[in-house]
């Protein structure tokens, strides 16, 4: 199910402002890639371009190409809606739909697209997705309760289950643990480790311990100053980035000398 992502010379603009410049990298299937860097360096913006979610922001646009198994996301006639069905996303703050029950939240991707699904099939998908998100045992008795009745960490795993249920190839995570307590964070990190066998995962994080714990490869983004575009500084195996980086700025950042 998982696929290789190739990014070639990608620029991201907000109206006329160049936010991210010249990013090229390749993400292998069934890996976890962490994007780290100081605030405002464009790592979240870059993440959003991987499933065209940046288009939600007025004025945002992209030059360059993103290939998923050779298909250019920014090719002519590409439907962003279809892109997003292949590349799922989990956000910084857990955002279950408040009008839906836990079960319906998991099926949201199916139901919101007006697709019919037999009840037994739906129940199977709910169970499978919730098991995939390590949430099944905690919520199996209250699938008809509203999603907002769960704790923050559970809500975030519900959102992951919701993303899994669409059966994407890639899952993007935008600081998925920044609104959670350490215990919930640990649960999510364990989950990411397990999900790696099925999905290609790209995660943005501010927490460098987290990046070193969960990821195989790490990309370090930085900006020269406010108003300047963010750039990809270094991209390598996580162990290399954290023990033996080639660029001075990376070493300064991961060792805590700035940022």
């Amino acid at each position: 199910m998982s696929k290789r992502i190739e990014v070639n010379d990608l620029d991201v603009y907000y109206s006329k402002f160049l936010a991210v410049e010249g990013v090229s990298l390749t993400i292998e299937p069934r890996t976890v890639t962490a994007l780290i860097g100081p605030s405002g360096c464009g790592k979240s913006t870059f993440l959003r371009t991987l499933n065209r979610m940046h288009e939600v922001i007025p004025g945002a646009r992209v030059d360059g190409e993103v290939l998923i198994d050779g298909n250019n996301l920014y090719g002519p006639g590409v439907d962003p809606v279809l892109v997003r069905r292949q590349v799922g996303m989990v956000f910084q703050r857990p955002n279950p739909f408040p009008t839906m029950s836990i079960g319906d939240n998991v099926l949201a991707g199916v139901k919101l697209n007006n697709r019919r699904m037999p009840k037994s099939e739906g129940d199977d998908l709910i169970e499978k997705s919730l098991r995939g998100a390590n949430l099944w045992n905690e919520v199996k008795d209250r699938l008809d309760k509203p999603g907002s009745s769960l704790s923050g960490g559970q809500q975030q795993r519900l959102c992951i289950a919701r993303a899994i249920a669409v059966q994407p190839d890639v899952i993007l995570m935008d600081e998925p643990c920044s609104a959670l307590d350490p215990i919930s964070t640990l649960a999510i990190e364990d989950l990411i480790e397990e999900m790696k066998t099925d999905f290609t995962i790209v995660i943005v994080t501010h927490n460098m311990q987290q990046a070193s714990r969960v990821s195989d490869r790490t990309a370090f983004f930085n900006i020269a100053g406010t108003g300047k575009p963010g750039k990809l500084i270094e991209y390598d195996d996580t162990t290399t980035i954290f023990s033996n980086p080639t660029v001075q700025a990376t070493e300064d950042y991961v060792s805590g000398r700035f940022g």
Binding site: R61, D63, Y74, G75, P76, G77, V78, D79, P80, V81
Partner: protein, 314 residues
């Protein structure tokens, strides 16, 4: 170059559902502009005969349309002005009471009580004005004329029924009170707590805090609230039509039985029996009212919008 082509190509790929839905919303939005234009257009078309009407066409002793509409326009502005004069200080007081004086827990409930005033239909205000307020105020008016008759506004002879323009102004004041209060309250509540705490920390009393932080912050808001209240008072029909005993003249006296009436009330009273050019004349006065309220409202909205841009609230 090529990217521009790409982007156009991407845009071209739109789902039919999206296309239909976004077009529907756009049509609805455009329809609103259309309705506003239609209101102006149809009133204008139907008003043309009135502008060239002969003196015989007017009810009463008038030579042309402008001499007919002048006392009505005066009455409209004069009654609305008096109403605002009473309503604004009270409304600011209530808004301050709710936002800064009443206990926090009660504030929302007290605001709701004032909002109830806005929910009362104007025809009920009319009944109340003529059935309760006017008879209650009449003895008070008699005393006022007796003691202060030397003051031009209070000159006699006093009205025997209390159905004077002053009573109308009181009813109008009560009617616009909730509108002005609601906006002022919102604006006072938006005062940045930092400013308030800064002045309190300097040892200011609550009133000094309000004059230092709340009122300067809310000045534009108060002005526009007053303008919106003015718009409502100018257009109010039934309460005026029912309470006032009218006479089509320009008179400043507040307490006599000779009172200038308003455009709206004049239309309501005369429309059911009007015929021929008379209908067009009434429509033309309606057009004048529309123009007056449109200008007032546009000024109010411009003030609000300019303030919004500077407050950084959005």
């Amino acid at each position: 170059m090529t990217t521009a082509v790409d982007r156009i190509a991407i845009k071209a790929k739109e789902r039919p559902g999206d296309r239909i839905f976004s077009t529907a919303t756009l049509v609805a939005g455009g329809l609103i502009l259309g309705v506003l234009a239609a209101v102006a257009a149809f009133l204008l078309i139907q008003s043309i005969p009135a502008f060239v009407a002969e003196p015989d066409d007017f009810k009463g002793d008038f030579t042309n349309f402008w001499s007919y509409v002048a006392p009505l326009a005066f009455g409209t502005l004069w009654s609305a002005f008096l109403a605002l004069l009473m309503a604004i200080p009270v409304a600011i007081g209530i808004a301050l009471f709710i936002s800064h004086y009443a206990p926090r827990k009660l504030a929302a409930g007290l605001g709701y009580i004032i909002d109830l005033l806005a929910a009362v239909p104007s025809v009920v205000f009319g009944l109340w004005g003529i059935g309760v307020l006017a008879p209650m105020l009449q003895p008070f008016y008699a005393n006022l004329v007796e003691w202060f008759g030397w003051f031009p506004l209070f000159a006699g002879p006093v009205s025997g029924t209390g159905r004077t323009i002053f009573t109308v102004a009181i009813v109008l004041a009560v009617m616009v009170l909730p509108i002005i209060t609601a906006i002022c309250r919102e604006i006072f509540l938006q005062t940045p707590v930092l400013y308030e705490e800064a002045s309190l920390a300097l040892g200011a009393t609550r009133w000094e805090m309000i004059t230092m932080a709340v009122l300067p912050f809310g000045r534009a808001g108060i002005i526009s609230a007053a303008m919106l209240g003015l718009g409502r008072a100018l257009g109010e029909t039934m309460a005026v039509a029912m309470v006032l005993s009218p006479s089509p003249q320009i008179l400043f006296q507040l307490l006599t039985s000779q009172n200038p009436t308003t455009i709206a009330a004049n239309i309501a009273l005369n429309f059911p029996e009007a015929h021929g050019v008379g209908v067009n004349i009434l429509l033309a006065t309606g057009l004048m009212l529309f123009v007056i309220t449109l200008i007032v409202n546009m000024i109010a909205r411009l003030i609000i919008n300019r303030r919004k841009a500077f407050s950084g609230a959005n």
